[in-house]
């Protein structure tokens, strides 16, 4: 009787192993041959073996007592996606953790109460102004310091800039209008931008605004650390700026320029800014070697090519506003008096902040003596003839719609046989066909018409 039971058990397990085949043998292939093999060479079955259950079970199945070891159910909840309330709560936790980190590790080094910032930004109306200005606005909103944003623009740009700044009512903005227009070449543009910044400095001097002046260009990328370090400025300081000159040109051009470009630092991109020796003393400036760039530099704004900065850019410099006041207590005598009146002759003297001081060695290096790159200099502009909708809003329906050259649905031939008397059972199917053909044929017809009309317009 017992032998019969054992034989039937063996046949059952034999058939089961045949059914499972390779997987079953693999499961036991690595278990060592037990020395106590009073069984025959048949692989031993664990006593808790049960036939294979479906791998993934929703939680709706009734709970079974879980065995200590052996096969378990992989439980997946029916809707395995994040809950938005919980995600928001997680972000609150993250911000609590990060503000605690800031409070413990960064705030002890900073002056308290925090000093005010005066951010000077020249801007003008063009395709990418909305992108750059609003991203700088977002950066300034995150800052845990009081900020006055001085935006200087040429006369014609008022409306566009107003539209962008209207979305940030919480920012305190001081807008200045520069008499003149923005030229088309990079060299001239940087000169006009310098004059716009000097206009802002004059405003600071005349109104005796108090704070730390940061020259933040709208297309640059600023780290929060730059502003933390800037809080500790005495008179004038400089941070290392990473130059991303290759933005806006094609990959293949980058490769050939990189092979000849030896002057970029070990990071792979050039850095301009203060340089210190090994004992931590400020000894000089890291300069940009433009010899590798000749021939590939873009001349006109929006032209394809490299855009390289001047030897000393305004970006990366941070000053105490009392540097430009008429009278300030305790101002050292190595500061030149800022007496720029407003005429062109005065303005050509000052091309970068170092012209405001007589002795350059008093500039304070920021970011661990210039070792940390605290901001990224980027200049990428769209072509001069590129068009963009006013305020980047399309609120009226477009008058002319031209479909893309490649439609997601297949192009149907013009002659389609559409059954006229559809049977009731195939109603839905043919309705779909109707709508499909309708959809695909309508724009095709229209496109043909539109293309004809467009060609007319272009030729006329």
């Amino acid at each position: 009787m017992l032998s019969l039971v054992s034989i039937s058990l063996h046949t059952f397990s034999c058939l089961l192993s045949l059914y499972l085949g390779f997987r079953f043998s693999r499961l036991f292939s690595f278990s060592p041959p037990t020395s106590s093999s009073h069984l025959n060479n048949f692989p031993p079955l664990p006593l808790s073996y049960s036939p294979p259950k479906p791998l993934i079970n929703p939680l709706t199945s009734p709970p079974r007592p879980r065995p200590i070891s052996g096969r378990h159910v992989i439980s997946i909840r029916p809707w395995a996606h994040p809950n938005p309330t919980e995600t928001l709560q997680a972000h609150r936790i993250l911000s609590a953790v990060q503000s605690e980190q800031r409070r413990r590790h960064i705030s002890p080094r900073l002056p308290s109460p925090p000093r005010k910032f005066l951010i000077v930004t020249p801007t003008y109306s063009r395709t990418f102004q909305a992108v750059y200005l609003s991203s700088l606005a977002h950066s300034l909103l995150i800052l845990p310091y009081p900020v006055t944003w001085i935006v200087v623009e040429p006369r014609g740009s008022r409306n566009d800039t107003s539209a962008i700044l209207a979305r940030f009512p919480r920012l305190h903005v001081l807008r200045l209008s520069y008499p003149g227009s923005m030229p088309n070449t990079w060299a001239q543009r940087s000169r006009v931008e310098s004059r716009m910044r000097l206009m802002a400095l004059r405003e600071i001097r005349d109104q005796q605004l108090d704070g730390i002046i940061v020259f933040a260009d709208e297309s640059n990328v600023h780290t929060m650390e730059l502003f933390d370090e800037a809080q500790m400025v005495n008179w004038i300081a400089s941070a290392s700026v990473g130059i991303l000159a290759h933005t806006g040109i094609l990959e293949k051009d980058i490769e050939e320029s990189e092979s000849t470009n030896k002057q970029s630092s070990s990071l792979g991109f050039p850095v301009i800014g203060p340089a210190c020796n090994s004992s931590g003393h400020f000894v000089g400036w890291r300069a940009l070697d433009t010899s590798n760039y000749t021939g590939k530099i873009a001349n006109f704004v929006g032209e394809e090519g490299l855009v390289v900065p001047n030897q000393f850019e305004w970006a990366g410099f941070v000053m105490n506003s009392r540097l430009v006041w008429e009278k300030a207590e305790g101002r050292p005598d190595w500061v030149r008096a800022f007496s720029v009146g407003g005429s062109v002759a005065d303005e050509t003297e000052i091309e970068n902040p170092l012209d405001l001081v007589k002795d350059v060695s008093f500039v304070e290096p920021l970011g661990r003596c210039g070792k940390k790159v605290l901001l990224w200099w980027v200049r990428t502009e769209a072509r001069l003839d590129s068009k963009f909708p006013t305020r980047w809003i399309i609120d009226k329906p477009l008058q002319i719609t031209v479909p893309a050259k490649q439609t997601p649905w297949p192009e149907l031939p013009p002659e389609i046989v559409i059954p006229t008397n559809p049977t009731p059972t195939r109603q839905s199917l043919t309705d779909k066909q109707h709508s499909k053909t309708g959809r695909s044929s309508r724009p095709r017809h229209r496109s043909r018409g539109k293309r004809k009309r467009e060609s007319h317009m272009n030729s006329s």
Partner: protein, 413 residues
């Protein structure tokens, strides 16, 4: 009478002075374990350990054969031996010793892939105990009750990597009365003996210290995990590995942006842990993992997903206050559990983790430093002193059966 009052007064004054002497740091919290501030106890003077001098084949020869034993997560046994040889608690006079240590490396027989094979380990251990019992009288005096062994393998002294086989084997019979220092710890499990000391797995301290980033780097990852979810080589059908818990984590949270989980091996693994708030420490084939040590060292709150696990130095470290415990059946609602923890509780856990004595207790630095895991093991042994009188056998009394266990274990090594 007078001397007794004097002793009581001395003890009282000590109890009053000690808390005043230890000033609390502003941004960390002192860990008060169930037995007081035991992490900072100094074991020197509280116990004496005698180290048996076993032939090279039990220890040095194995390391010479395969030096990978010094860097894998079972290297505790080797470093414990080296630490004890030069420690102040070591005594060369066995008559005054409280504890006896047998330096036998049972986890140093490695496959080409680096995994330890446990098949010879029972025989190696038996052979070592036989050597000790024949050459010194101290084993037979207590049948091993004042001896301790380091058995860091997956299931401790059950000497197998597969849980079912380990349970079938049970703890090696000859170690019935000895104290085991092991990594494995699970309540109500055959392979966890009463009175064992659970230790963290070995993680190389210099490697971790080399990857420290500034503590002001903001923690922006909510949950972090790197490792296997399915073990297709050993568990092709699924459902065995990690009791299905890791697979459940993957299936439920692979598309959740708060969970940064994958099977990658990024070079910035340690740096990423320092940028995370929670680090998952789910069970694998065994309930413990080196992730716990890494999470503690890098200040990431460990999320323990292993039912009934016994964590290292559980009598000295209040793990309930530091880590988050999630039952395996609750894994599908892991995101709800973690986001419902109040922010103050999370900040407090981070302060407890920032305590340097907490980090030090998880590490095995070379050379040994005060408060590290070696000292916590000695503290644990010291807390078990003095030995109960029943430890010493009466002459002629025998408790151990030297022929018990599977026949394969009895083969000499």
């Amino acid at each position: 009478m007078g001397s007794e009052i004097w002793i009581v007064a001395l003890l009282l004054s000590q109890a009053l002075i000690l808390p005043i002497a230890q000033a609390a740091e502003p941004h960390t919290e002192r860990i008060s374990g169930s037995a007081g501030d035991v992490l900072e106890d100094d074991p020197v003077g509280r116990l004496k350990v005698f180290v048996y001098n076993l032939p090279r084949k039990y220890n040095k020869k194995m390391v010479d054969k395969d030096s990978r034993c010094l860097t894998h997560m079972f290297a505790t046994e080797i470093f414990m031996h080296r630490f004890l040889l030069s420690s102040a608690v070591r005594t060369l006079d066995p008559e005054e010793a409280d504890w006896f240590y047998t330096p036998v490396y049972t986890t140093c027989d490695l496959t080409p892939g680096g995994h330890p094979l446990p098949f010879k380990s029972p025989r190696i251990m038996r052979s070592a105990i036989q050597y000790v019992a024949m050459n010194w009288p101290y084993w037979n005096r207590t049948d091993g009750a004042d001896h301790f062994f380091v058995t860091p393998h997956d299931f401790g002294a059950c000497f197998h990597y597969q849980e079912e086989t380990a349970i079938q084997r049970g703890i090696l019979h000859l170690l019935k009365r000895a104290t085991l220092v092991q990594t494995f710890g699970q309540r109500n499990h055959v392979c966890l003996k009463e009175g064992s000391i659970t230790v963290p797995p070995y993680a190389p301290p210099q490697k971790m210290q080399a990857h420290l980033v500034s503590p002001s780097t903001p923690r922006s990852i909510f949950v972090y995990f790197r490792g296997l979810f399915y073990d297709v080589n050993n568990d092709p059908e699924g459902g065995y590995y990690a009791r299905g818990a890791r697979a459940s984590v993957w299936e439920n949270f692979k598309s959740n942006p708060l969970f940064d989980i994958s099977t990658d091996h990024p070079p910035t693994y340690y740096e990423d842990m320092q940028r995370s708030v929670f680090c998952l420490c789910p069970l694998g084939w065994a309930p413990w993992s080196p992730r716990l040590v890494e999470a503690v060292v890098f200040g990431c709150i460990p999320v323990i997903i292993a039912d009934d696990i016994v964590l290292p130095f559980a009598d000295a470290i209040p793990w309930e206050e530091i880590a988050v415990f999630v039952a395996e059946k609750d894994v599908p609602s892991l995101d709800t559990i973690l986001t419902s923890i109040p922010a103050e509780v999370i900040l407090r856990k981070q302060r407890l983790l920032a305590n340097p004595s907490m980090k030090q207790a998880m590490l095995f630095p070379q050379p040994a430093q005060a408060g590290d895991a070696f000292h916590q093991i000695l503290n644990g042994l010291a807390r078990k002193l003095p030995h109960d009188k029943s430890v010493y056998l009466k002459p002629g009394e025998k408790v151990l059966n030297w022929t018990a266990g599977p026949i394969g274990d009895l083969k000499p090594w």
